[in-house]
């Protein structure tokens, strides 16, 4: 394989940070479950009680997996982390494969390399090895962290090995997707759908017909029953299907032309609909997909929280720390819990707001702004349309989160009375989110390369909500986070003053940024 090692070395160098972040993320996902479960329950009797309550919660089972040995730490780790861990490994594999296959072909760099003296399969093989290694690192770190916790070594290794194998499976399917499609976007579409279907099949299977779970690689992983009667044969299923998918990718690779996929690219409309040609219509079109995606994701997360219903007490245990973190505000246990749940969902929604506010910077960095601004569209109108999209999108995403929470709660308890308060509580967070958007706008107008610092605001919000009560930080430090000032609905009544003050600050930031943008060089 002339050249494969050269490619591989280059890939490994380029990917080392990716490796690191994904591996750290996945390890934390597993390890933090072990830590948090251990801290949550003071006695085994309480643990047993909580486990029984979880076993009866269909929504949780659909989300996480079959309920087995939930009154043990190992059982909890497998239950809470494996489905999401498999998704993490799948996404990592998908992005690694996408980066080195379709994205390279699109950029034309790959062509340059292929034209030099390397064998035809060199870059494909290097991509494969790169992704296999990345998943191996993931599995080893997860297993090592669990062994170190300490949990039973054999079962811990099984959890890590299953994770690696899931990653290998999704590496294989991503490689196939890369041969079928002709653009990076559609490749991510196909490979991502495989992960989503795998998750969906086992979700339906675990609460309904178990056969469906056996059609999913995540189902096979969980079918290994680590920490609850470990068996290895489902791992063989993962390994053989991963091998088969990879082999298929190699066969397909030989049958396609460079730069194209086996599926012809789907043509789009030859004409623009009238709405596209207004400044706002255009900005909305660019962000539509991301608004819908975030709304869906945040709403699902809300549903998951809401479906806890009134079982709040058993779930969060009775340790002082966890009560301090998960129950805040002046009301009772349930209201206090949902006040924090709404804040959590809102902080995740802030991810949309900040990335949306940074969109103009992305457009400028990618060199797509100049051609637009060289038309009758003025700078102010262009940027205002982007701001309007961020505002509308933020309202939509937060409404999705609030409705999800309310509906989830109503489904489990049969009580629809909380839909409105949850929705209103969630919409209150429009104000702090827009402060962060305004900060991004301000930085974008004044010093564009610092605009990404607006993410620090999200980080600050997370720290203050979850660690503020535990760390007993002084009030002014907590006050730095715009998320700190709102009333904790539904545990406290909504207060207009902080809401309006935050909105005014957001508007001030945003207008200053707009004015600065109108005066600076555009690149």
């Amino acid at each position: 394989m002339t050249g494969a090692t050269i490619f591989l070395r280059a890939f490994l160098r380029r990917d080392r940070w990716h490796y690191l972040w994904w591996a750290v993320g996945a390890t934390l996902l597993y390890y933090s479950q072990a830590v948090s479960v251990k801290g949550l329950y003071t006695t085994q009797a309480q643990f047993d009680k909580a486990a029984r309550s979880m076993e009866g919660n269909t929504a949780f089972i659909a989300m996480a997996g079959p309920a087995r040995a939930l009154n043990t730490i190992g059982g909890q780790v497998v239950w809470q982390a494996t489905a999401f861990g498999a998704i993490v490994a799948g996404l990592m594999s998908m992005f690694l494969v996408g980066r080195h296959t379709r994205a390279e072909e699109e950029s034309g760099r790959d062509e340059l390399l292929r034209a030099s003296a390397v064998s035809r399969h060199a870059s494909l093989t290097a991509t494969l090895v790169d992704a296999l290694l990345a998943n191996l690192v993931l599995g080893v770190l997860v297993a090592a962290s669990l062994v170190a916790f300490p949990l039973d070594a054999t079962d811990s290794i099984a959890v890590g090995a299953g994770l690696t194998l899931c990653g290998w499976f999704f590496t294989g399917t991503a490689l196939v997707a890369a041969q079928l499609t002709s653009s990076t976007r559609s490749m991510y579409g196909v490979a991502g759908s495989v992960i989503a279907v795998a998750y969906g099949l086992r979700a339906i299977g675990d609460v309904g017909n178990p056969v469906l779970s056996w059609l999913s690689p995540i189902g096979w992983y969980q079918g290994m029953h680590a920490f609850s009667g470990l068996r290895w044969w489902p791992a063989l299923l993962l390994l053989s299907f991963a091998t088969a998918a990879t082999g298929t990718a190699y066969v397909l690779f030989g049958r396609r032309d460079f730069g194209s996929g086996l599926w012809a690219a789907r043509p789009g409309p030859a004409r623009a609909e009238p709405a596209l040609s207004s400044a706002f219509g255009f900005a909305w079109r660019l962000q539509r997909g991301s608004v819908l995606g975030w709304t869906g994701g945040v709403a699902l997360m809300g549903l998951a929280y809401g479906s806890i219903g009134n079982d709040v007490g058993t779930l969060i245990g009775d340790s002082k720390t966890s009560r301090d973190v998960f129950v805040q505000g002046a009301g009772g246990l349930v209201d206090g819990f949902y006040a924090v749940a709404i804040a959590t969902v809102a902080l995740i929604a802030a991810g949309f707001t900040v990335s949306s506010a940074l969109r103009p910077k992305g457009e400028e960095d990618d060199g797509r702004v100049e051609a637009l601004l060289a038309t009758g569209l003025s700078r102010r109108r262009w940027l205002l349309a982007q701001v309007a999209t961020t505002v509308v999108g933020t309202v939509v995403v937060l409404a999705g989160g609030g409705l999800g929470l309310g509906l989830g709660y109503a489904m489990v308890t049969g009580d629809g009375g909380r839909i409105a308060p949850f929705l209103l509580g969630s919409l209150g967070y429009v104000a702090p989110a827009l402060v962060l958007a305004g900060l991004a706008r301000l930085l974008y107008g004044v010093v564009p390369r610092w605009a990404v610092l607006a993410w620090v605001g999200v980080g600050l919000g997370v720290v203050m909500v979850f660690f503020g009560p535990v760390l007993h930080l002084p009030g002014w430090v907590q006050g730095l986070s715009p998320y700190h000032h709102l009333a904790l609905v539904p545990a406290e009544p909504f207060r207009w003053t902080p809401f309006l003050v935050l909105l005014a600050i957001a508007a001030g930031f945003s207008l200053t940024g707009l004015a600065a943008f109108a005066r600076r060089d555009v690149h």
Binding site: T184, A371, L372, L377
Partner: protein, 308 residues
């Protein structure tokens, strides 16, 4: 025609710095109505920077810039409706098709000529249903060209618009630029493709290190340079090297070769004529030589040496 006040583009002493880099250093440029003006210079000379100032993307540090009678910074959006711009590096939106981008840019400029749009798409053999990422560099440029040429504007600002086009598409492009000029439009064309410049441009400006070093018609520029002469003479010639404007005289018996500043050609040939010419070839500078003379560093230093 061509007076200072009705110039399409009028730049005097333009200065633009990026940190410590002085990208434009007192640049002058005039484009008169109805002309195709070639804008030439080596890489990094400041052509794109000039165009970005003209389009109101960059703020000038000093100098006067007038575009279509207005201030390109203060009246940007209003002026932009009267011009169309094609960058050399066209970046499209990944999820919009070429056809959508053409409509978008055209409508934001105030409207497209539907018939011309259809004709251009056909002539450029562009598939308007493909999405942004799947276009090659040349096809991305065609998208921007169709959007520009299908709008009714007074001025085309083109920054290396054909760097990705194949020769057939290049000639389609030239045809449309000629048609645009015949309809009374003006063009500022930055280009490294000399054949294109020679065919299209009425006048050219050559810039180097942020200054205009030469400006005029191609004939005028040729006039400024040297003609190479090789002659077979009846007798050896004397006094040729002493003539003003004659360089590099090389005598081998009755054969003589030299270069002469084109305005001095008459005197040099006169001297040869006095001796008796058996054969003579006089080669005007090719466009390449013309530009290399202005682009290359060594020639600049040679000129400086001659001046001192």
């Amino acid at each position: 025609m061509g007076g200072v006040n009705d110039a399409i583009i009028e730049i005097r002493g333009l200065v633009k710095t990026f940190g410590t880099t002085r990208a434009l250093d007192g640049l002058d440029l005039t484009v008169t109505p109805g002309e195709v003006h070639g804008f030439l210079g080596p890489n990094g000379a400041g052509k794109s920077t000039t165009i970005r100032v003209l389009l109101g993307m960059l703020r000038k540090d000093a100098g006067d810039v007038r575009l279509l009678g207005g201030d390109p910074w203060a009246d940007a959006a209003r002026l932009h409706r009267r011009l169309a711009y094609v960058p050399g590096d066209v970046n499209l939106w990944p999820n919009l098709t070429g056809g959508q981008v053409i409509d978008l840019l055209g409508r934001l400029r105030g409207g497209l000529d539907e018939d011309r749009r259809r004709e251009l798409i056909e002539r450029f053999e562009l598939d308007p249903t493909k999405k942004g990422r799947s276009y090659s560099k040349g096809n991305r440029q065609k998208v921007a060209l169709v959007a520009a040429l299908a709008t009714d504007v007074e001025l085309l600002v083109l920054d290396e618009p054909t760097s990705g086009l194949d020769p057939i598409m290049e000639s389609v492009f030239q045809e449309y630029v000629e048609r645009f000029r015949a309809d009374g439009g003006s063009v500022l064309l930055s280009s490294h493709i000399l054949a294109e410049v020679e065919r299209l441009c009425d006048r050219v400006s050559i810039i180097r290190a942020g200054r205009c070093v030469e400006s005029g018609t191609l004939a005028e520029l040729r006039h400024l340079t040297r003609t190479s002469v090789v002659a077979e003479l009846a007798r050896p010639v004397t006094g040729l090297a002493e003539l003003p404007g004659v360089h590099g005289v090389d005598v081998e018996g009755s054969r003589v070769s030299f270069e002469v500043d084109t305005p001095r050609l008459d005197a040099a040939i006169g001297l040869l004529h006095g001796v008796g010419i058996r054969s003579l070839t006089a080669t005007p500078p090719t466009l390449e030589e013309l530009f290399l003379r202005h682009y290359g560093d060594d020639i600049a230093t040679e000129e400086e040496a001659e001046v001192s």
